[in-house]
């Protein structure tokens, strides 16, 4: 009390106007601030869970944020991304600087024109799966039977053709049989009858090739083709001449 009296006397001597002011506290404090202050501080120090009435105090943000921070946040992040890309692109830039520096001076903007609204209206025309009409597949057992029929037809055609060809060939090549082959088909009696009838009084007993130089010459020097030709022209069909005596 004496100390307070001394401070007041000191103030009266130093600043009488200030000494006469009413000592009212102009600042305000939130309701219940002091009631939970001790628990607040303790919780922050030791991490103890506080009673429920103080949670609302804790939920208020403790830290300040610069003005306009969130408004500019997107642009800041984009700028950082752009810078990071620049760093990556720098590798491509540096590489080209060594190889062909002229190309680094050219803008990479797309020069080709694109119809307006192309990308916004782009639709991919996927192949549709048609439903409704029954599709009869030409396959399976039907195809198997068709294959068999085709194979049988081919076989038939080949067989007939072969038969006809062989038959024709036999008839056609019958004339070209050698004289020996043709004579071999004749009986001895037929040959003797032919000789008797066609050659008349020719004495076979006496006439030998050695004794008749003309016949000898003819027989020795005539080729098989010439004899054959003779037989064909004299009698028409050689076979008929030989057989038809």
């Amino acid at each position: 009390m004496a100390n307070v009296h001394n401070i007041l006397e000191e103030l009266m001597q130093a600043a009488p106007a200030v000494a006469n002011l009413v000592k009212n506290n102009p600042y305000t404090v939130p309701m219940g601030y002091f009631d939970g202050l001790a628990e607040n501080i303790l919780e922050k120090v030791v991490g103890r869970q506080l009673p429920e009435q103080n949670i609302s105090v804790l939920k208020q943000p403790s830290y300040s944020v610069p003005n306009g921070y969130f408004e500019g946040l997107a642009n800041t992040i984009l700028a950082k991304i752009y810078t990071a890309n620049q760093q990556k692109n720098k590798e491509v830039f540096q590489e080209l600087e060594h190889i062909a520096p002229l190309l680094n001076t050219i803008s990479k903007q797309n020069v080709f024109s694109v119809p307006d609204g192309y990308f916004s209206g782009l639709r991919i025309n996927l192949p549709s799966e048609k439903k409704g009409a029954k599709v009869i597949a030409f396959g399976g057992s039907m195809r198997k039977w068709v294959t068999y029929a085709a194979a049988a037809s081919v076989l038939f055609i080949v067989s007939v053709t072969s038969y006809l060809y062989v038959n024709q060939h036999v008839k056609r090549t019958g004339k070209s049989l050698t004289i020996e082959q043709r004579l071999a088909t004749l009986k001895d009696e037929e040959i003797l009858n032919y000789l008797k009838n066609d050659l008349g009084d020719y004495d076979f007993n006496t006439a030998t090739p050695a004794e008749d130089p003309d016949i000898n010459h003819l027989l020795i020097n005539a080729s098989d083709a010439e004899i054959e030709r003779y037989l064909d022209t004299e009698s028409g069909s050689g076979e008929e001449t030989i057989k038809g005596i």
Binding site: I99, L103, I106, K108, F112, S113
Partner: protein
């Protein structure tokens, strides 16, 4: 694989979300793939045809995608193969030689309504069309898409060394063309 691509893949494999996931994939990659194709075939209508065919193959094959590479690597591979197939068929249809095909593509560049012979960007396009097809692909992927060689190796199934050499030659050829024209 990127998380969102994984999710799209999962959704694609569910019948009830297949179409929604497919649409999302198209929206995500359509521009990149379109330009990759367009730089190969030049004409917009041709690029649209190739892009359509490419995404139809994606629709048919994505269920069996083995996920041994990134989704976009797989998409790029299909787009590249479809572009090269298209050019090969165009060559056979018109019975032209390779050099005729390259000059045909150069003519298509010139025919673009925005073509300006004085602009370096257009000269660059003409120069690119002088390259053989595979070299053109390598150049476009590196120069325009800035694809790492490791990724490009998976797209084109070629060694990184071969790709680097191919890009090196392509860039030199293009630079010489621009300087001389």
């Amino acid at each position: 694989m990127h998380a969102d691509d994984k999710e799209l893949l999962l959704e694609f494999r569910q019948p009830e979300t297949k179409e929604k996931a497919f649409t999302a994939i198209i929206k995500k990659y359509q521009e990149k793939l379109y330009w990759h194709i367009r730089r190969m075939v030049i004409d917009h209508d041709d690029a649209n045809d190739v892009l359509q065919n490419m995404f139809i193959k994606v629709w048919n094959g994505l269920t069996n995608f083995r996920e041994d590479s990134q989704l976009y690597t797989w998409l790029y591979r299909i787009a590249t193969n479809e572009s090269l197939t298209f050019l090969e068929q165009a060559k056979k249809r018109s019975s032209v030689s390779l050099s005729d095909l390259e000059s045909g593509l150069a003519n298509k560049v010139v025919a673009d309504k925005n073509f300006d012979a004085n602009r370096l960007e257009w000269k660059l396009q003409l120069a690119i069309q002088q390259l053989p097809e595979k070299q053109r692909v390598v150049f476009n992927l590196r120069y325009y898409d800035e694809m790492p060689y490791e990724e490009m190796s998976r797209v084109l199934e070629t060694s990184e060394g071969a790709l680097k050499a191919s890009y090196h030659h392509a860039a030199k050829k293009i630079e010489d063309y621009i300087k001389n024209n």
